[in-house]
Symmetry: C2
Subunit: 482 residues, 2 copies
């Protein structure tokens, strides 16, 4: 692992400056670096490997739910964006354009894709003729670009990596079912793989995807109380089908428009898992996506070194064969104490300390990054011990994140109450909303809180709008968001 | 599987028009479609899945040889290309430029990456300080763009997918070792996974990568006798290290330039495997990357249907569990004969026909797409039978491709001989070459043949240059190339 020029020697405490803490840990742990292009980062191997593990888990789930991957061109003719009115309004301000190529000025400018509803729409109109071709269920893993004014590594960058699913269906019921299936896939993944509890719900009209009929999201709470939208799933109705002429011959022999959906998650999940789990010592990686799940550190005096390393290698081979992502740090020019700090900072969930006396007694010391708990474990059962410790670490992380969210989830009746709490508290506020854009906008203007979503499940149902006091149509989660 | 507007009902025979045959099969088998952007194709699921299988196999090999993946920005400031003289000359004519973004004209134009030596170089100069940071071994899977005048699906498209490895080393010896290791990884992969025999060798100076000291390639022969460069590995010397200031403190405490390498393969491998293995009935997929390795087709009269399908499902589950990529086509509205043709056209290596009488006798019929051989195999040993058949199919394909190459590999003494043979023959020609650019250019101008590489191993060593008759410095493989 290489050293960095401008190496960050200290990590700013979270309570002092959460944003500084975030930048300190991701730089120090070598997850990313800034690039010479505005708002674009380099995903370094330690950061990219998290994404690879995310991809593996999600891709399996997509395939199990009947989807196949494909790859569509990243350049999109400018005219395509004009075809869906809301879509162009939503994305036009953020588009980069290729205007010259191969030494010539292009006749039509090409946008670099911010999302691919238009390109999929164009191709689907060629591929879909009959109900027999439906549903069409395609996903792509790709880079996308949105020329953002304010950027933050992983959470908001000009170029980022994501997956975008695009599906076409015979009718609304089937498309809505797909929309919910994928929201459930995301929920399962984020909760059970990333150990992040989420709130499932529907976006308000002002926050929905440009061109969607309905947008659904999962929202997660960071350790500074802010929200991150961790995944979205859109029911697009026939909006893109009409714009791109995606029609099929129905079972009743009528020519009908398809109902389409799209859904995506991105590399912002990396930012989210850091901000949910990290602490003042550095990263805390969820075991199921951690590049290194287990670090083994041989200790003891030089004269026992050979024998300790031999035993370590033997255990390493066993763990590796069992599928554990394990590394050994047997360098002799850095102290065990330095290594302990280093791998704590990098967020490795489990550490094994292997000393000569313990090994003689057939045990070693297992230390949890999450709880700090140390315990002796028998070597002859090492794989099961490590697997149980990883499972426990995942559960600890999820429960801590859930507890934190519950402690920072409150309820307000009026805008004044929200204003007051926005100054002293952090977290998510539950409030009633009449459904008007004006009231929603007033909340945003006066508090900086935006509506995150209208949760599917909530312990409390509000009856009055926090702004105008009229009857509440919805109970909404408001928060400051990344 | 969807039907296509403009569905190709017939496949042009290879002998009649090889290019037409190629387009016919890739369209009919739904591997790709043309996009509305010039020279950019859509990789449809059937085509993209080949790439996914290629990625899986290669990625494992990269990691086993010590590399890690990362992701670098696709936009590269124009000024970066100016820093390495040969590099800018080589790539400038093909660059697309983003000149506007977010509604504003950019101060510096951004190229969309054609390859990333410059961006890696810039970042490596920040990350590498000491010999302890070396070697730095990073790969990325990415899309790249080269604005090509003449395009051909998979083989030459404006946007394509590839991997690019970029490594930095202490000295020439270590960098040259890496260059050869990766050429060997490619050779192993292309021969043992794609079943394509290749010729390993060094590119002549006029054909080397823009900015490299030496370029090495593997070259494969298509069924029309043309060559496809299937992979390249470059020793870049200190060219990019000097241009981007990639220096390290050596073991002797001196500040030294790194020696760097780069190496890549792309989605053109999909085109190559089609052109090497396909025949007049359609695709023939190498078993190790085939999206479907085995198709199971239940046959027999309606009254036995239920029982046949029950048994098919049971066998399917066994094969699936064993890791075979198997599908069942139990549709009752298309005939077995239609299905046989369909999956032959799609190149599925093995077909199982499951009829009621055979099943009663505990057997089924296994048909090889490659040899056409049919044989009865016992059901109680089906996994081993299928695995053996897939292995045999791979070997048959490799041997046929090798035999074809040997039959179309000839030797010439003079340019006149090459000119004559270029008209009547197809294939690769071995000839002596004095080493001058002028002679090489004359071969190209008068025959359309280009030097493919200087093979590491050759049965014959030429002593005279085919053009000028001077002493030959090298024995070179010449061919028409895609």
């Amino acid at each position: 692992m290489s050293k960095d020029k401008g190496f960050v020697s200290e990590i700013t405490p979270q309570a002092e400056d959460f944003s500084r803490w975030y930048i300190d840990v991701i730089k120090k742990a070598e997850l990313m670096d800034y690039s010479p292009v505005r708002g674009c980062i380099v995903f370094r191997p330690e950061g990219y490997e998290i994404w690879e593990n995310i991809q593996k888990e999600l891709d399996r789930r997509f395939k199990e739910t009947g989807h196949r991957n494909a790859y569509f061109p990243m350049f999109i003719p400018e005219s395509f964006f004009q075809k869906e009115k809301e879509h162009v309004e939503g994305f036009n301000p953020e588009l980069p354009f290729v205007t010259e190529a191969g030494g010539e000025i292009l006749e039509e400018r090409l946008a670099v894709r911010p999302t691919s509803e238009t390109m999929f729409g164009h191709m689907y109109s060629k591929w879909i003729q009959s109900y027999r071709d439906l549903p069409m269920l395609i996903n792509q893993w790709a880079n996308v670009v949105r020329w953002e004014k304010r950027t933050l590594p992983f959470l908001r960058t000009s170029e980022f990596l994501w997956q975008e699913g695009h599906t076409a269906h015979e009718d609304e019921a089937d498309a809505r079912k797909e929309t919910m299936t994928m929201l459930d896939v995301y929920t399962d993944f984020v909760e059970n793989v990333l150990a992040i509890p989420v709130i499932k719900g529907q976006k308000t009209p002002s926050e929905k995807f440009a061109g969607a009929v309905d947008t659904y999201s999962i929202e997660a709470m960071m350790k500074d109380g802010r929200a991150v939208q961790a995944g979205t799933s859109h029911y697009l109705g026939t909006n893109f089908a009409v714009a791109f002429d995606i029609k099929y011959l129905s079972r009743e022999n009528n020519l009908e428009y398809c109902h389409t959906t799209s859904w995506g998650v991105s590399t912002r999940l990396i930012g989210a898992l850091i901000m949910v789990h990290g602490d003042d010592r550095g990263l805390v990686m969820p075991p199921k996506v951690a590049p290194t799940q287990l670090i083994m550190i041989p200790i003891g005096p030089p004269k026992t070194r050979e024998q300790v390393i031999a035993k370590t290698d033997e255990l390493y081979a066993q763990l590796k064969a069992a599928g554990v992502r394990v590394r050994v740090d047997d360098r002799s020019d850095v102290s065990p104490g330095w290594k302990f700090n280093e791998y704590e900072m990098r967020g490795v969930p489990i550490r094994l300390e292997l000393g000569p006396r313990d090994l003689e007694n057939g045990v070693c010391v297992l230390v949890s990054r999450i709880t700090g708990e140390k315990k002796q474990v028998p070597l002859d059962n090492i794989v099961a011990e490590v697997e149980a410790a990883l499972e426990a670490a995942h559960n600890d992380m999820y429960n801590r994140a859930l507890q934190f969210r519950e402690e920072n989830f409150y309820s307000v009746e009026t805008l004044d109450e929200l204003k007051a709490s926005a100054d002293e508290k952090r977290g998510f506020a539950l409030a009633g909303w009449c459904g008007s854009d004006a009231c929603e906008k007033q909340v945003k203007d006066e508090t900086g809180y935006t509506s995150r979503n209208i949760p599917f499940e909530t312990a409390e149902t509000k009856t009055k709008c926090l702004v105008c006091g009229d009857d509440a149509k919805h109970t909404v989660v408001f928060a400051k968001a990344y």
